[in-house]
Symmetry: C2
Subunit: 138 residues, 2 copies
DNA sequence: TATGTTATTATAAAAACTTGCAATAAGGAA
DNA sequence: TTCCTTATTGCAAGTTTTTATAATAACATA
């Protein structure tokens, strides 16, 4: 679980603490190839930390997302799933088969700029989920 | 509640039926200025149709969204709220105060085109929620 | 290392949301 | 109008997510 030690300074700097629960949840996210739901995180993390509870998982995932260590994204069913924060990207999800594609943020950068200048808002969040039909399902 | 009769043909054409429950829920959405949560819809609609149940509200809202009569949008708390489908637009939500701004879809149209041609996906859904800081909260 | 502050957790209970299924009723056909 | 098909609903029970609060433990300080 050494891979997750890198996150400690990010928390400390903000006055937050690193705990076994946060470590184990970061570890799960770090090693998941795809998004994982809160309940999946709970099941996986529980193996390494049996005392872990569900409310803690929900709160921790939200906490990690708020602090930029994780990223939340909307699923086809409306639920939220999480992944470790890596490079900025977005998701395309097929309404029919669920197939996902990743879109680099670079593709949307100019649109973000335009949106910010027109609205006066400063966009802090940069994960979007687009729904549509994948090439196979059209 | 005559204002909602306009939606009947849209359902019939797809083989679906118009029911008192759907009418009353459409009526609520039609007359709500902002997004409403499923439980808000339930409370409001129940006044006109006392027998209405919560599962029906959830199912109906999802149904209406799937069929283009309503639009769902993610809230700051991660929950989903609904509004009547009108002109295509997106939302900007302030992370701090919750203030919302509307963005016309026209502003994103070229980005959508680019996204479609690069990914091969055909984007069916066009409601996005952007999170950030509004001018007052920056 | 020992101590104090306070962020974080587990617990328990509530609220929000979903699902399966039998009963109902919308609307097409006779 | 009456009958029939099947989309839709209500009910009841389940699952998921949230909230309040008291107990715990991280870590700054001495």
């Amino acid at each position: 679980m050494s891979c997750t030690g890198q996150y400690v300074p990010q928390l400390r700097a903000r006055g937050y603490r690193m705990t076994p629960q946060r470590l184990v949840i970061l570890h799960v996210l770090h090693h998941s190839k795809k998004h994982v739901s809160p309940s999946q995180v709970y099941e996986l993390a529980k193996k390494d930390l049996p005392g872990l509870t569900e409310p803690t998982v929900y709160r921790t995932l939200e906490f990690l997302a708020e602090n930029g260590l994780a990223r939340s994204s909307q699923q086809k069913n409306g639920h939220i799933a999480y992944e470790i924060a890596g490079h900025e990207h977005h998701h395309l999800v097929c309404r029919v088969c669920g197939r996902e594609a990743e879109v680099d943020h670079a593709l949307l950068k100019s649109m973000y700029k335009k949106l910010e200048s027109e609205s006066g808002y400063q966009l802090t969040d940069s994960h979007l989920t687009f729904f549509g039909l994948c090439p196979r399902c059209q």
